[in-house]
Symmetry: C2
Subunit: 384 residues, 2 copies
Amino acid sequence: MPEPILDDISHRRFNPLRGSYVLVSPHRTKRPWQGQQESSNKIELPAYDESCYLCPGNKRAQGDVNPTYDSTFVFVNDYSAVREEQAEYEPPKQDGSLASRLLRAEATTGKCYVITFSPKHNLTLADMPAYDILPVIKTWTKIYTAHLDPHSPLAKSAKPTTLPPASLNGHPVPSPTQQYRYMQIFENKGSAMGCSNPHPHGQVWATTSLPEEPGIELVKLREYRREQGGCNLLEDYAKLESEKGERTVFENSSFWAGCPWWATWPFEIMVVAKKHKRALVDFDDLEREDLAETIAEVTRRYDNLFETSFPYSMGIHQAPLSGTAEEIEASHFHLHFYPPLLRSATVRKFLVGYEMMAEPQRDITPEQAATRLRDCGGPLYRTR
Amino acid sequence: MPEPILDDISHRRFNPLRGSYVLVSPHRTKRPWQGQQESSNKIELPAYDESCYLCPGNKRAQGDVNPTYDSTFVFVNDYSAVREEQAEYEPPKQDGSLASRLLRAEATTGKCYVITFSPKHNLTLADMPAYDILPVIKTWTKIYTAHLDPHSPLAKSAKPTTLPPASLNGHPVPSPTQQYRYMQIFENKGSAMGCSNPHPHGQVWATTSLPEEPGIELVKLREYRREQGGCNLLEDYAKLESEKGERTVFENSSFWAGCPWWATWPFEIMVVAKKHKRALVDFDDLEREDLAETIAEVTRRYDNLFETSFPYSMGIHQAPLSGTAEEIEASHFHLHFYPPLLRSATVRKFLVGYEMMAEPQRDITPEQAATRLRDCGGPLYRTR
Ligand SMILES: O=P(O)(O)O[C@H]1O[C@H](CO)[C@@H](O)[C@H](O)[C@H]1O
Ligand SMILES: O=P(O)(O)O[C@H]1O[C@H](CO)[C@@H](O)[C@H](O)[C@H]1O
């Protein structure tokens, strides 16, 4: 049981994975809400939409035609944020001038992919049984593998060779023209999270630089490992939470899913591998099935909570594509789900003024959120 | 002139005030937008609304009645996120257990105020001439002064004594029951930024803890000061930007306002004191007038940009209420404006999947944003 006193007093919780704090104000949910309402997602979508650039057989923005795929489908983003080729940029010399000290930039190249989760326009992860989510996990694994540094200790991992190679636009993924440092796999779901096409899909951005968030986590994971004699922060954390149970939403033999002690978003969930897994390539078939089941359980509960297609951003953090042996060993596979809704299908939490300027602030405790999510398992509300 | 090459290639810019990076993808604005549209703010509001809990003479949620004030009005937030009094919390002993290492919390107390900017329900800062913004700045200064640690070097600053003492609900602000560490002054404007009442108002949260963002900045400001022989990062930065001009939106003799090199939000603006000013109490009458003029110029340009009541979150960063002499000397007064709109009055930038999981990403360059904002000065579009 959580310390009951924390249900009533304002406090800050420490996030050891980022080395940062979040302010928790449990009594604040009593506040009435007169602000913006999200549009609820009651619109029924067709299984095929001829104006959708992700549906099988349709034409995309830049003229390419999608194959009539029957599971997942991968293509290079027509509006990539980073590109493989661009003009050279030579940063100004560090000559001690104010400009060289305060106006610093570095070029970044990379590659952006889009992955559809299903040929059906109206099937979200929450609608899909675990065995339909499995091909998505396999596709992530194949894309990750195709971009791994051949010298990485991970490249020697035998397991992914049991998977067929990744395909792109129906053809094998070409070898990258350069070695990327990190691959961010993520999904934006729902218009409240900036998603502009309801056809269920995720994205993959691979870059020559290690982005901020996985970079911050990697520093903390390495520190913990050094300070705790080789123990792994997230392995320890999953073990502790699985024993305590009060923040658990779902677990199976390979994964713990729950609202972390330090959650920022009201119904934030973290999915953590229970054993030390550095990246997607470390999983065997059973573990991939367990991951599919965990994703199905999390996304279905989200939809059930407010009986709506629940918006969120989801992302995978794992080992860099290329890095030192220590970085790769310290990495630990996990997923973050950041959903904005707070009170209902139409009232969200705004992380604005105080949160942007000072510190993230949350209203309900993670224990309260986990209890509610734990209790809304079972069949998807739309099919009951 | 900016290096023209940076207008076309993807790059990362370094933010020396936070020690973090932002990814810039200038070519990405070509992307079509089919996602969520914000409601535009075309509704004309009355000068007085009898259902508004901020209008003069009206009753608030908890039953208090507002005085018939004629300038600004300050009261304690009826739904404060932190409170002066609460049950004691004794954090668990650091006994080396997993729980003591990974489930860490600390109690936080504090005080939350609301400040109306004007008795008129329909006057935003953008509608107000500089001489009407001056009372807001004086009120901020008085609230800050009333909470200053009496032992702080800032408390000896003579200037604020020329201001009448702060009043609360029409009475003098009572001495705080405890010494707070930091005071965050901010404004959420517009429903897109979680503001639930259009009556122009800001907030003040004072806490016993130093929040994350000012804490991160303070570390960087102190480092710079030590490394650069006592120079001040933001004083150097304002000087450099004022000379370069390409990111300047507006400036007068006391303040530089522009889109910082490392801006995350499309039209983000930072207002920086040109001389070394640690906090509001360091300003004299002329500097307060210059600050009022700068806020008027920034908010009016924002509204003019897309001819809409432009949403944003704004916050003041300055010296902690209580801290070491070094912390207070290293502090430098500045304002951040974080506005979400990107393309028009109804299309915003979403900082979602990649931005949350990996790294903030922006589409237009800060130089492009500054040029557009510089060019839309003059009278407020609604009054032309
Ligand atoms: O205090 P308000 O205006 O009711 O609420 C708004 O600002 C707060 C401080 O930034 C946020 O915590 C809330 O999520 C937001 O809706
Ligand atoms: O790439 P999309 O889906 O068009 O765009 C969405 O996700 C991106 C990556 O998180 C964000 O940069 C965009 O602001 C958001 O609208």
